[in-house]
């Protein structure tokens, strides 16, 4: 009796994996021991990476986190809420410039207030969110292809504004430096030693980026599972039916754009901290398409999918570049070989988007689900 009571306190009964006896256990994201242990292992591996990898690979991992944040934002508006948005690059640019103005160094050419990261980072999310809030009523009136064109217009308007606003952006061609990553007075780029051991150069930055990424990813996952998330899905599936059922269309679409712009702004601000210099030309249509690729390849309407897609889109070009040495017809030097590395990367990019759309619409996440189901049912897989 006491035994079962003790076992039941956790909300699950040992030997009865599908029986939940508490709301907390039922609603947990990591609801099985397998999920908990594997997630812990993954987190530990990711935290250990800066100590094992060289500096450029650590930067690449940070870029993965940033693309994942951006991808999650786009997935919230396009995957969950069904509002096609090609304007992601615009919101990222807004976030990056907000952060740069608030957190950057002032020079003769550009503004900068040198504020702490604890101020510029949230503002880098809030300002684009407010702009998203302003854009949303327009977006709520149109659907599908027309919405895509409308958001595309945002990208071009944004590029023009960024080129003209020299005090903020430094102008086309020259650009400006990003915000300084100084969190609560601590310069994240400096070298630290803890417990007598010297940390690799960008380790602190990496850990902070990872922490921000985890918080935002869990928040998005919880959002997707909440009432608002279900409203998003209803609007995506059949918005008129959703309205008939009582889902407030305007409000839901507005919230989708606002939240997605928040994520995009934060991703943009962090991306330029990794790159080091941003020009107005960075925030172009191709960046929006990269994020669409992230969510299409990774998995529409899934958070894990966005993360997998981000890892794929960021790491694939590097893999191709590494393999180019071994494959004879891909050249790294100009003029030699049949194809250059960049040709191969671009071709693979496009080919994979098409392949995933046709063969596995649920993306990498769908592939993962297939693999997991196979092994769950093994040796009785079918």
């Amino acid at each position: 009796m006491i035994g079962t009571a003790v076992l039941q306190l956790r909300g699950r009964v040992r030997g009865r994996p599908v029986l939940y006896t508490s709301y907390a256990a039922d609603q947990a994201i990591l609801d099985t021991p397998a999920k908990r242990w594997w997630t812990a292992a993954l987190v530990i591996v990711v935290l250990a990476l800066p100590f094992l990898l060289s500096r450029d690979l650590t930067s690449l991992m940070m870029t993965v986190f940033i693309y994942a944040i951006g991808g999650i934002g786009l997935n919230l508006v396009t995957g969950y809420a069904g509002q096609v948005s090609l304007g992601h690059a615009f919101f990222m640019g807004l976030g990056a410039y907000t952060a740069a103005v608030l957190g950057g160094v002032e020079t003769d050419q550009v503004l900068g207030f040198g504020l702490d990261m604890a101020i510029w980072l949230p503002m880098a999310g809030i300002v684009p969110a407010l702009v998203g809030l302003a854009v949303a009523p327009l977006a709520a009136r149109v659907r599908g292809l027309y919405l895509a064109i409308l958001t595309l217009g945002l990208v071009f308007i944004g590029e023009h504004i960024f080129k003209e606003a020299r005090q903020i952006t430094g102008g086309a061609g020259v650009g400006r430096a990003p915000a300084e990553p100084v969190l609560f007075g601590m310069d994240l780029r400096a070298t630290y030693h803890a417990f007598g051991y010297i940390l690799p150069r960008d380790a602190m930055l990496y850990f902070v980026f990872f922490a921000i990424f985890m918080v935002l990813a869990v928040a998005a996952r919880n959002l997707a599972r909440s009432k608002l998330g279900r409203a998003f899905a209803a609007v995506r599936d059949r918005d008129i039916a959703a309205a008939v059922m009582g889902v407030p269309l305007q409000r839901t679409k507005t919230l989708a754009f606002t939240i997605s712009s928040f994520y995009a702004g934060i991703a943009g601000a962090l991306l330029v901290v990794v790159i080091g210099q941003m020009t107005p030309g960075n925030w172009n249509l191709f960046l929006s398409i990269e994020f669409l690729a992230v969510i299409l390849i990774g998995g529409i309407a899934t958070i894990s999918g966005s993360i997998m897609g981000a890892a794929f889109v960021v790491l694939m070009p590097r893999l191709v570049a590494e393999l180019a040495g071994s494959v004879p017809f891909i050249s790294t030097a100009p003029g030699s070989g049949f194809l250059t590395v960049f040709h191969v990367q671009t071709m693979l990019f496009g080919a994979l988007i098409v392949l995933f759309l046709v063969l596995e619409p649920r993306g990498l996440y769908g592939l993962w689900v297939r693999v997991r189901n196979y092994w769950k049912a093994w040796p009785f897989s079918y």
């Binding site: 003790v6 306190l9 956790r10 060289s54 500096r55 450029d56 930067s59 690449l60 003769d108 080129k163 102008g171 086309a172 061609g173 020259v174 650009g175 430096a177 601590m186 310069d187 780029r189 400096a190 070298t191 630290y192 030693h193 803890a194 417990f195 010297i198 940390l199 690799p200 150069r201 602190m204 990794v274 790159i275 080091g276 210099q277 941003m278 020009t279 960075n282 790294t332 030097a333 100009p334 003029g335 250059t340 590395v341 960049f342």
Partner: protein, 447 residues
């Protein structure tokens, strides 16, 4: 029992907080220790100290198998970017330069290798930054970093890594420590000075323009040049008709907007800071529409292929090219060496000469550091202040670290298109300076 999870979370949180609290900012002592590259941790070879980017093993395909190897990086635009047509010969010119240095015995007992760490960055700051981080553990310095925004993207990292570099650009900011942290070893004038010298020559030898116009790509190239044009107009009482911003044809499709603006401006002299294709289009279309003014083109506006285009006639009659040093037919010792390296051939365009001349400061720095017996990053960086560079007469000797206003190079070479000339240009006058350019207060970047 339920609180086990909470307890674990609490313990982890405390550990994280403790780690952060105990993390003390390091003052740079341990930097060299974690480079994790394949170099030897350090060593002495004939009393020269070295660590990162220098090895005792010979270079791959070494000219002098007994010498060690100094590795320099090249971050350029070699395939898809907007400057690939000129950047590929630039890199070729640099390789020829260092091959000549190696054949003469290398520097301080080391050959110099730039090919192993040449990376294509497509003129994109993100790629530039990523490739720089990739090659940084293995190089001593950068033999070439193409582009101003791209170099600015890695400047903070270069500062932290003590990596000096030679730019493949003529932005005025490289002459000032405020803008380049004393890391960038530029050669020749800047676009800003170029515009002023060009207009001075034009006023003295063709006609005094009452109205001047600047057309260019916004940013470090066209923006710098336009700042020079504006300066000149102010100093000479001419009217500055404005800076017409345009972009490469790959972005805007055609130069019709710029052509229209030029026609409307009524300018007597138009300074162009665009690419060769755009130059041909602007000159061709404006002259055909009856434009009466003349064109002064910045260095990168020329390509020999322009003389085979439809605008050739217009170009021959209205275009003058300004260059920082003589072209392939030049008379200096450097030019003799360039022609020798080409074995009587002709390069695709003047980029070959740019790359060659841009390499002299790095050679001077390496030689000075080797003489000091310190070929480490810190040693190399420390010789930049006060470094004297001999360009073998391609340019007057330059000194780095001295006051820019007094020491900046303010001379140019004026060329005109000539069907008989090699690479389509023939020199009209060399070592040209101008009143306005000489008098200009050069105390900070022009743009």
């Amino acid at each position: 029992m339920r609180s086990t999870a909470r307890r674990t979370a609490a313990v982890l949180g405390v550990v994280a907080l403790l780690a952060t609290a105990c993390a003390v900012e390091d003052d740079g002592d341990g930097e060299a220790a974690e480079d994790g590259g394949t170099e030897e941790p350090g060593g002495d070879s004939d009393e020269i100290a070295f660590d990162v980017g220098v090895t005792e093993e010979p270079c791959p395909d070494a000219v002098n198998p007994d010498n060690g190897c100094i590795y320099l990086g090249v971050l350029s635009d070699l395939s898809e970017g907007p400057f690939a047509p000129v950047a590929v010969p630039i890199t070729a010119g640099q390789e020829a330069f260092w091959a000549r240095v190696n054949e003469a015995g290398g520097i301080g007992g080391f050959d110099v290798d730039i090919a192993t760490y040449t990376r294509d960055t497509l003129y994109d700051p993100q790629q530039h930054s990523a490739r720089y981080r990739e090659i940084e553990p293995n190089i001593l310095a950068l033999a070439q970093t193409l582009g101003t925004p791209t170099t600015a993207a890695i400047l903070a990292d270069m500062d932290a890594d003590n990596v000096i570099g030679a730019p493949a650009s003529w932005w005025s900011g490289w002459a000032f420590d405020d803008s380049d942290q004393g890391l960038i070893l530029e050669s020749g004038y800047s676009y800003c000075i170029e515009a002023q010298v060009g207009l001075d020559w034009f006023a003295a030898n063709v006609s005094e323009p009452a109205t001047v116009l600047a057309v260019g790509y916004p940013g470090d190239y066209g923006g710098d040049s336009a700042a020079g044009v504006e300066q000149w107009a102010e100093a000479n009482g001419a009217q500055f008709a404005g800076f017409i911003e345009t972009a490469p044809n790959t972005i805007v499709g055609s130069q019709d907007a710029a052509v229209g603006a030029v026609m409307e401006s009524g300018a007597d002299a138009v300074v162009l800071a665009v690419g060769p294709a755009e130059t041909g289009e602007i000159i061709g279309k404006t002259v055909v529409s009856g434009f009466g003014g003349q064109f002064l083109g910045s260095v990168p506006t020329w390509n020999p292929a322009l003389l085979e285009s439809a605008a050739a006639g217009a170009i021959l009659s209205t275009y003058t090219n300004i260059a920082p040093w003589e072209g392939i037919d030049g008379t200096s010792a450097a030019h003799d060496a360039i022609r020798e390296s080409l074995d009587g051939g002709v390069p695709e365009n003047d980029g070959y000469i740019f790359g060659w001349v841009w390499s002299y400061p790095i050679k001077a720095a390496l030689e000075a550091a080797a003489e000091n017996g310190d070929l480490t990053r810190e040693g190399l960086r420390s010789v930049v202040d006060g470094l004297e560079v001999d360009y073998e007469d391609a340019l007057p000797p330059a000194t780095f670290g001295a006051d820019t206003n007094e020491n900046a190079i303010r001379q140019a070479v004026i060329n005109r298109p000539d069907e008989e000339g090699t690479l389509g240009l023939s020199t009209v006058e060399a070592e040209v300076t101008g009143e306005t350019a000489e008098a200009y207060e050069y105390t900070s970047a022009c743009s």
